[in-house]
């Protein structure tokens, strides 16, 4: 297992380096693009463009330029956004990351619990419950986040804010956990629900079909022939084998959201997270910020994939021992 983890981490590092090279090439070596003007942003002065040309070594060879960019990004950490008057990029990312993490972690917890519960309930085969839950799941998947978010905002912030159920919900925005745990929680409840609704639909549907598939497996028949209780069969045999599917899609979903995929939710609820940062950077064509968020996002997706692989190996012993010689 240790060997597996070490090997996997080395691979991850290689992929991360490859990603930075690729990103660099897209932004600095794409034909027909003048990176100095792009970096400087809209309406930049000639002086600013000249500074950028020097800072990034844009008159020098590609490898040197790559090294200089990585130096700005990783070593000096002074990659600067010029469009809003020389603001450093990395502190912006560092400020935005906890917001996104708070949003995604809460939503994740919500959709995993609800998705598993609803999936199990639907697969348990009640005659009407199953199509009802799966229909609701389909609707949940189909609702666009911006619509659901604005709708919930309309209800909880405006129309029914006086109603006792919603009166405790504060105005849009974000409060750090360290500053006020209750403020953190109350600001995030509606965003959590908004973000998780579609995933609850997806996860419950995936889990239900997997549960039904696994419940036909021979080893479930064995478990029944052993006289085990239905609960034991579900938890130790059917569910345990079905959850493997969720783990693999979960890794990608989680990483995608943390990397900026929660953009719509963040913008709708005025949460200053990675997604919102990327969104505003695109509006301003603020290239350094876009570049930094792209690299951050890519790195996070790769790391999450590694975590999933390790988790998967732990959950499914068969993937762990590839190359292991089965003793007789």
């Amino acid at each position: 297992m240790t060997r597996f983890i070490v090997g996997r981490l080395a691979w991850t590092l290689a992929v991360v380096v490859a990603i930075t090279i690729l990103t660099f090439l897209i932004f600095f070596a794409a034909p027909g693009v003048d990176p100095a003007h792009q970096l400087a942003g809209r309406g930049a002065t000639p002086a600013a463009v000249a500074t950028i040309k020097h800072d990034f070594g844009l008159d020098r060879s590609l490898p040197v330029r790559y090294a200089l960019m990585m130096k700005h990004l990783v070593i000096d950490r002074d990659l600067t956004s010029y469009s809003q008057g020389r603001v450093k990029v990395l502190p912006q990312l560092v400020d935005a990351a906890p917001v996104t993490f708070s949003l995604v972690l809460g939503a994740t917890l919500l959709w995993l619990v609800a998705g598993v519960l609803i999936g199990v309930l639907a697969a348990s085969g009640r005659r009407l419950l199953d199509p009802l839950l799966m229909g609701a799941g389909l609707i949940a998947i189909s609702i666009p986040t911006f619509l659901l978010g604005d709708l919930l905002n309309l209800i909880t912030q405006d129309r029914l804010h006086g109603f006792f159920l919603f009166s405790w919900i504060p105005p849009l925005g974000y409060v750090p956990f360290a500053q006020s745990p209750w403020g953190w929680f109350s600001h995030l409840v509606v965003p959590w629900i908004t973000l998780s609704v579609a995933y609850v639909g997806i996860y419950s549907r995936v889990l239900r079909s997997k549960l039904q598939e696994v419940s036909e497996a021979d080893f479930v028949r064995t478990a029944r022939a052993k006289g085990l209780s239905p609960r034991r069969i579900l938890v130790a045999h059917t569910l345990r084998n079905s959850l493997l599917t969720l783990v693999s899609i979960f890794g990608l979903d989680f990483a995608g959201l943390v990397a900026g995929g929660a953009l719509v939710t963040e913008v709708v609820f005025g949460l200053p997270g990675i997604g919102a940062l990327t969104f505003h950077a695109f509006q301003d064509l603020d290239l350094p910020v876009i570049m930094a968020t792209v690299i951050y996002g890519a790195i996070f997706v790769v790391l999450a994939n590694t975590a999933v692989d390790i988790l998967y190996a732990w959950l499914d012993p068969r993937t762990r021992s590839s190359g292991f010689d089965p003793a007789t």
Partner: protein, 343 residues
């Protein structure tokens, strides 16, 4: 046992039906009856699709709910078909245990094999985690798994096929059942392992005094273990009796065919093997009358009527064949479906 005690297992007129695409009932198994006494071994033999496994699953109420089961399955006098699911659960694994065909797919791939033996003990014997684990290791030792204590921590994919089937047997016998159902327990294994597993099954069943219902398509396997035989074809029992009687004087042409398809190792050059021509019919395409008549060299007009299962040669040796018992020896000679007649 006193004369009034009911037999261990008494299956009476068991019929299993599924609904066809057009809603009509298709019988998979038709009117199967047999009795298994304490400690006795019954062999059920037949080709794939003859209804052997369905019969076995029906005994434990393990068929899907859309399948209809009629008749009676009396275990120590209680009709299992009328029991509720919780009542059945108390019997399954404790009084009646199963060894399935493919130990790879029949074991949970993500659970350690020791735990798969232990969970049954915990369910029926109320053992705590530690006691069940200790007992599981003892059982794994008993079925001949070397280094049982460390092997108990293995996952199924880390064991060989024979070892996996030993794990299945250890789990099945963990609660010392009175009846063991074995569904093709050696079919998925290497030939060299098959004999070992059969010997192990026989030895452990003897020690526990457990009765065995052994299902196989292999008459060789059946002949080694069973004292009673039921031959199934397309959902019917076509011949049934003490194995000595059935092997010495087979009455149904299908049984002749099965006997003829066993390779014999005596003599040189080896005698040619005989295959039964054609395929067994599917449930939907089963012909009226005797289901074997379309493959049978001896079919005549009467065979369009389904024959009764009657003791034509002896009261306890029954068959479903319209041929006159006296004419059978000549018929078997004339149309050689088995190696003995071919020589």
């Amino acid at each position: 046992m006193s004369a009034t005690a009911p037999p261990l297992l008494e299956v009476e007129d068991l019929t299993i039906e599924v609904r066809g695409a057009d809603g009509t009932a298709l019988p998979i198994v038709r009117g199967v009856s047999f009795t298994v006494a304490d400690g006795e071994v019954l062999g059920i033999v037949g080709e794939s699709g003859s209804g052997k496994t369905m019969t076995l699953l029906a005994l434990l109420g393990l068929l899907p709910p859309r399948v209809r089961v009629r008749g009676a399955v009396r275990f120590r006098g209680r009709d299992l078909l009328t029991l509720s699911e919780p009542e059945l659960r108390k019997l399954r694994g404790a009084e009646i245990a199963v060894v399935f065909q493919d130990p790879m797919s029949s074991l949970n791939p993500v659970q350690r094999v020791g735990d798969q033996v232990a969970e049954q003990l915990r369910a029926h014997r109320g053992l705590d985690r530690g006691a069940a684990a200790t007992r599981a290791v003892e059982l794994l030792e008993r079925v001949g798994i070397p280094n049982a204590a460390s092997r108990a921590r293995s996952y199924p994919h880390e064991l060989s096929g024979g070892m996996r089937q030993r794990v299945m047997i250890a789990a099945a016998l963990s609660c010392e059942p009175a009846l063991l159902l074995a569904d093709e327990p050696t079919t998925a294994l290497d030939v060299t392992i098959q004999a070992e597993i059969l010997a192990l099954l026989r030895e452990l069943a003897d020690q526990l005094g457990a009765a065995v219902v052994l299902i196989s398509h292999d008459l060789g396997v059946i002949s080694e273990m069973a004292s009673q035989i039921a031959v199934m074809y397309a959902g019917d029992v076509v011949e049934q009796g003490a194995s000595a009687a059935v092997f010495a004087n087979p009455q149904h042409p299908y049984t002749w065919g099965l006997l003829g398809s066993i390779p014999l190792l005596e003599g040189w050059p080896p005698k040619p093997l005989h295959a039964i021509p054609g395929q067994p019919p599917t449930v939907a395409a089963r012909p009226s009358g005797c289901p074997f008549r379309i493959r049978c060299a001896h079919a005549f007009e009467a065979c369009t009527e389904r024959p009764e299962l009657l003791g034509r040669v002896a009261a306890d040796h029954r068959d479903r064949c319209h041929l006159e018992p006296a004419a059978k020896a000549a018929a078997r000679q004339a149309a050689p479906l088995d190696a003995g007649a071919a020589s």
